[in-house]
């Protein structure tokens, strides 16, 4: 049982898994098919450089704990990464079988299999205590990975999280057919077991600001992710039918009262993965008609084709390209969404729900409050890419707040990279 209770009747609990756990027969067959390439391209394509051929070989020899260990040695969030990583464009896209026109090894699913069966509570042994403490802001993947890696090096990490649940978007953002909040909380418990303290419901800022944190800890890591959903900036946007995407997904994943029963027609605005996820989620929830509205053409969309393509095979989803939302008007039932381009209004689409997925705000103002911390003109915290150190040598940062919004695995890489640099810094200070 997790320290962080979640409501039972969450809508997400009804979602079926898209890729269920492999059976041992499936896992063995796929492991036997893996060529165990040397200097393998899949490893090079993994941001955390998991030794994929080796863990798959260990699955093949029935050394599942060895397999899990190999994964964790490179990536402490190997369980969530196995399930949320877009392997179609990462490791799996480079499988050498692709060059033979044969299906790639299902690396993500094998990784999940190894983690599900091979994880043992005392698998990783923390070093003896260094007496050093590190404060981390936000309990998303970046901070969790950083804190776990610091704990293994003997330091005492304390994570401050303003939300009820730790996990960041792993708790509140990932599509439920991939990973649910309960899955996330199991992984969080594993990270805590390494010696990580998490204080939820604590927002950093105001009274508990940079000064107090810097005074309490030897070093800091900022893993704050991104801010609230961006707004369209058009008239009528304040109507209750119009919601931000991450806000809406968060309710889907955590809110016991959340229902979409009355929604017959939904409009999703945006062309990124959050927009595509939202559209897919609406389809799973049974909404009869979903319009995905994007300001440019399909080739320009940053949402993955492997996600959008299958979704568009469902006749209930339509993609409307090259238009903007001009205004949201009140209607007898729901709202009318006026769509147009630079030449004027083109169409009006009726909707009971409008989900706006055009990106998230940046928390640069918040970050700049830390002395020495700077941000670029797109609001991203500036760091040394090798150490993740900000302009303040005691303050490090990583994840979405630094890269502007990528994947969980990039946040993990950043966190672990920062942990190495923080460890070096603390040892240097200790030696001085």
């Amino acid at each position: 049982m997790s320290r962080y209770p979640v409501p039972q009747d969450r809508s997400e609990a009804a979602f079926a898994e898209r890729y269920p756990l492999l059976s041992s027969a499936e896992a063995r067959a796929e492991a036997a098919r893996c060529l165990y390439c040397f200097d393998a391209p899949c490893v090079q394509r993994c941001p955390t450089e998991i030794d994929i051929p080796s863990f798959i070989r260990s699955i093949g020899t029935d050394n599942l704990r060895g397999a899990a260990r190999t994964i964790l040695d490179a990536n402490l969030l190997g369980d969530s990464c196995a399930r949320v990583c877009p392997v179609e464009v990462l490791c799996q896209s480079t499988c050498v079988y692709v060059h033979q026109g044969r299906p790639a090894i299902p690396i993500g699913r094998l990784q999940r299999y190894a983690m599900a069966h091979g994880m043992a509570p005392d698998m990783l042994q923390p070093a003896s205590p260094s007496g050093r403490s590190v404060g981390l802001v936000g309990a998303g993947p970046a901070s969790l990975a950083c804190a776990g890696a610091l704990a293994l090096r003997g330091h005492a990490p304390v994570i401050y999280e303003r939300d009820t649940w730790p996990g960041g978007l792993n708790a509140t953002g990932i599509a439920p057919y991939k990973f649910q909040i309960t899955d996330n909380l199991r992984e969080v418990a594993f990270i805590e077991s390494l010696g990580v303290e998490i204080r939820t419901g604590v927002e950093i800022g105001g009274d508990l600001g940079p000064d107090r944190l810097l005074a309490q800890h030897d070093a800091l890591f900022l893993g704050i992710g991104l801010g609230p959903d961006r707004r369209l900036g058009v008239p009528g946007e304040d109507r209750p039918q119009v919601v931000g995407a991450t806000h809406w997904i968060r309710r889907l994943k955590t809110d016991p009262g959340f229902r979409v029963d009355g929604v017959r027609r939904a409009v999703v605005v945006g062309g990124g993965n959050t927009a595509v996820d939202t559209a897919r989620e609406l389809l799973v929830l049974g909404v009869p008609s979903v319009q995905l509205v994007y300001r440019r053409g399909r080739p320009d969309m940053s949402g993955y084709d492997h996600e959008l393509g299958p979704a568009l095979a469902d006749h209930r989803l339509q993609l409307i390209e090259h238009v903007n939302v001009v205004e949201v008007l009140d209607a007898r039932r729901g709202v009318e969404v006026l769509l147009g381009d630079h030449s004027g209004t083109l169409a009006s689409v009726p909707a009971d729900l409008v989900v706006v997925a055009i990106g998230q705000a940046r928390l640069d103002r918040w970050a700049r409050a830390f002395p020495g911390v700077t941000c670029d003109d797109r609001g991203r915290i500036e760091v040394d890419p090798h150490t993740m150190a900000t302009g303040n040598p005691r303050v490090f940062a990583g994840g979405d707040a630094v890269n502007g919004g990528k994947e969980v695995v990039h946040a993990v890489r950043d966190g672990q990279r920062a942990a190495r640099a923080i460890d070096a810094l603390l040892q240097e200070v200790a030696g001085a």
Binding site: S23, F38, S54, R65, G66, R69
Partner: protein, 427 residues
């Protein structure tokens, strides 16, 4: 953490995993990289008087999508000058003092053996392995398996070596004999410290049907070669076990043949090997396989509550018996789990055509699949259906004893009940 270190006839090794004498141990660079990767020991590629090798040298049996399930070679011993080999052996030993470095040798005259042993011992090598096993090429010249197949010659040669050697000596045996205990006992009589087996099995691996030349072809002809790789593991296991339970062979054994995983290695250890040697699996995938060999064995020992490799060595030997000692009242029957069955009917056809006609097909499917059923009284408990079944855990063999007491054929002979009805006398 279990202790993986072993003491093999006085040769100490950080773990029981050694490279066999073969191409992976051809040079100092390779052996150093192997030790860095985690191998506990290595037997250097056999040294002898210079030879000439042919090209090509290897051919393999692929099975389904598995490449190199069996490997065949017609390579001889080292083709590098002795001086280079000796210099590199000394360099490896200097860099890796705590790894086991054994040098394989194959010479003809007593004087040659004396000379080479002195030279090799000067390098600091930990032991010698006498190659009495190479089954192609060298045997045509009276060496290798030609020695291994003649116990008297083998014993004599071992004596020559033991007279001069001051480090532990291992004799490497050929499987190309009728009873491996004969050469093993001869080596023991000669004073050997330890045995290793198996070397490769004589074989012709295939034929190029377009050119009508056996494989691997050297231009327009080929020769028989030595077979190794996963395919030979059962042959090797049997020979190791035969020696492990032979009271006349009281020396440690290094098991070789088809080892690719920690599980293979654990099986060799359980049947009496003290160390294992690997060749083909490394030729296939490189030195890196040792990581999972060590990790897997380590976790296995932990799971079983064993504190050292030593505790595993020979653990299954007492259960390796003559047929005449097996319990005739032990009986199993096949049980098919209908919830798991996927309806391929392979068990049915195997039993119907290839066993005892006791798995039948119902005329109607139950639900989505037609699940075959077992006619229990007819089932002899041969395992065939369970072996062909592609679904893990679907067919299990359930124990149905025929009598409470244990009774073997030998017991029956002793009790005078060894006449089975239906013989010639009743015709």
């Amino acid at each position: 953490m279990p202790d993986l270190a072993v003491d093999f006839a006085g040769i100490r090794s950080p773990n029981p995993f050694w490279l066999a004498s073969a191409p992976p141990t051809n040079s100092g660079d390779q052996v150093m990289r192997a030790f860095d990767a985690g191998w506990g020991g290595a037997v250097w590629k056999t040294l002898g008087n210079p030879i000439v090798n042919v090209s090509s040298r290897l051919a393999s049996v692929d099975y389904g999508t598995w490449r190199m399930m069996g490997l065949n070679n017609i390579e001889l011993i080292t083709d590098r000058p002795l001086a280079d080999n000796l210099r590199e052996i000394a360099a490896v030993k200097r860099r890796h003092p705590s790894h086991a470095l054994v040098v394989s040798l194959m010479f003809e005259t007593r004087q040659e053996w004396r000379d080479i042993i002195r030279r090799v011992e000067d390098t600091g090598a930990d032991g010698l392995e006498l190659n009495f096993g190479c089954p192609h090429g060298m045997c045509e010249r009276g060496m290798g398996s030609a020695v291994g197949q003649e116990p008297a010659v083998l014993e004599e040669l071992v004596r020559w070596v033991m007279e001069v050697a001051s480090v532990p000596v291992i004799a490497k045996l050929t499987p190309n004999v009728t009873d491996v205990r004969d050469p093993a006992r001869a080596a023991v009589r000669g004073g050997i410290d330890a045995l290793s087996l198996i070397n490769t099995v004589q074989s012709v691996i295939g034929v190029d049907l377009d050119r009508m030349v056996p494989l691997p072809s050297v231009g327009d002809a080929s020769s028989h070669g030595g077979y190794c790789g996963p395919a030979v593991k059962p042959i090797a296991l049997r020979m190791v076990a035969d020696l492990a339970r032979d009271g006349a062979v009281p020396v440690p054994i290094s098991g070789i043949g088809g080892i690719a995983t920690w599980r293979d290695a654990a099986e060799f250890l359980a049947l009496g090997a003290h160390t294992v040697q690997v060749c083909t699996a490394v030729m296939h995938h490189g030195f890196r396989i040792v990581v999972d060999l060590i990790d897997g064995l380590d976790r296995y020992l932990c799971d079983k509550g064993l504190h050292s490799v030593e505790q595993l060595v020979g653990a299954a030997v007492p259960a390796y018996r003559d047929w005449g000692e097996l319990d005739l009242n032990f009986h199993t029957v096949a049980a098919i789990d209908s919830a798991r069955c996927i309806g391929c009917n392979l068990c049915h056809v195997a039993c119907h055509d290839g066993a005892h006609q006791c798995i039948h097909l119902p005329s109607e499917p139950q639900g989505a699949v037609r699940v075959p059923y077992v006619d229990e009284p007819e089932c002899v408990g041969c395992n065939l259906c369970a072996l062909v079944c592609p679904v893990e855990g679907c067919i299990t063999m359930v124990e149905r004893r025929r009598g409470a007491a244990r009774e073997s054929w030998n017991d029956r002979v002793a009790a005078g009940r060894d006449r089975v009805p239906g013989g010639l006398g009743e015709l």
